[in-house]
Symmetry: D2
Subunit: 96 residues, 4 copies
Amino acid sequence: MDDTPGYSDDKTAVLKRLRRIEGQVRGIERMVEDDTYCIDVLTQVSATTKALEAVALKLLDEHLAHCVVDAAKRGGPEADAKVKEASAAIARLVRS
Amino acid sequence: MDDTPGYSDDKTAVLKRLRRIEGQVRGIERMVEDDTYCIDVLTQVSATTKALEAVALKLLDEHLAHCVVDAAKRGGPEADAKVKEASAAIARLVRS
Amino acid sequence: MDDTPGYSDDKTAVLKRLRRIEGQVRGIERMVEDDTYCIDVLTQVSATTKALEAVALKLLDEHLAHCVVDAAKRGGPEADAKVKEASAAIARLVRS
Amino acid sequence: MDDTPGYSDDKTAVLKRLRRIEGQVRGIERMVEDDTYCIDVLTQVSATTKALEAVALKLLDEHLAHCVVDAAKRGGPEADAKVKEASAAIARLVRS
């Protein structure tokens, strides 16, 4: 069995996005320190939440395309377990 | 290729949930007709949204477990297409 | 104190939207009865969830513009209570 | 008119939460660098999204309790403008 996570090809792209999100969070901190108007802070928080969700959807897509599809090809109980695990992650994402 | 949708085993359960949701929506209509206090109407709208999301997560889980896993077993470009399609549905769900 | 809910002016418009949503839910039931492809059912569920959220945002906007603003004008502990109640409704909505 | 944003009393608490979120994002970067299993990365992304939403709900509550209530007390067109602006921010939040 291959232990490489599904996002390994796009690791650099995923890391780049996460570093940009880290910068967005630091930007929100500075806005709060500078007493920026609440609504402008909220707009940045919404944008950062959307960016985080986009990373999650990217990771999930890679996970389905690699880990879940590979487990399905091998068949057996592992395929069911992988689908169950992916569905639980999707539910956490939809509810977050 | 099998055309039975993934939820076919749970069709009765899914329909039962949808009929309950239909009843919840009718209940909200009655609340609005009766000039029920806004916040109480909103509480019912949130509960109904959650119930709809739960149906979506159920349908998605069945879809992954059947349609996507079966396509993965058969392999080829259809497997990639099914994953792409499922990822797009998950994105719509997360953003809705 | 005025007991008319905030949405009373738009009652007809809100009811019209809710009846359309009820129709969408019935449409999803028919899709499931007819064994429609999972992804197409999911697309309709996402659309219906979005329509319900739009009703909730409309109700909330009317509630802030009338009930919360009126309570704020009267002042006193009732204004605080109305804001607390509205914030709790917003949190339920964001998390649903 | 008072230009202090609504969150000024809780500025320290909000900043503390944002710094923790910044740390969570850095933690996710390290997980990706270390090829952590996709599902475990996703769990952390969902937790961070929830934490950001909680900050947004806190800021919004303070905004309603201060900026919107104060504008309502002063009355006039500014009150309407503040409600409209708050409703738009809530819509962005619900849809993010």
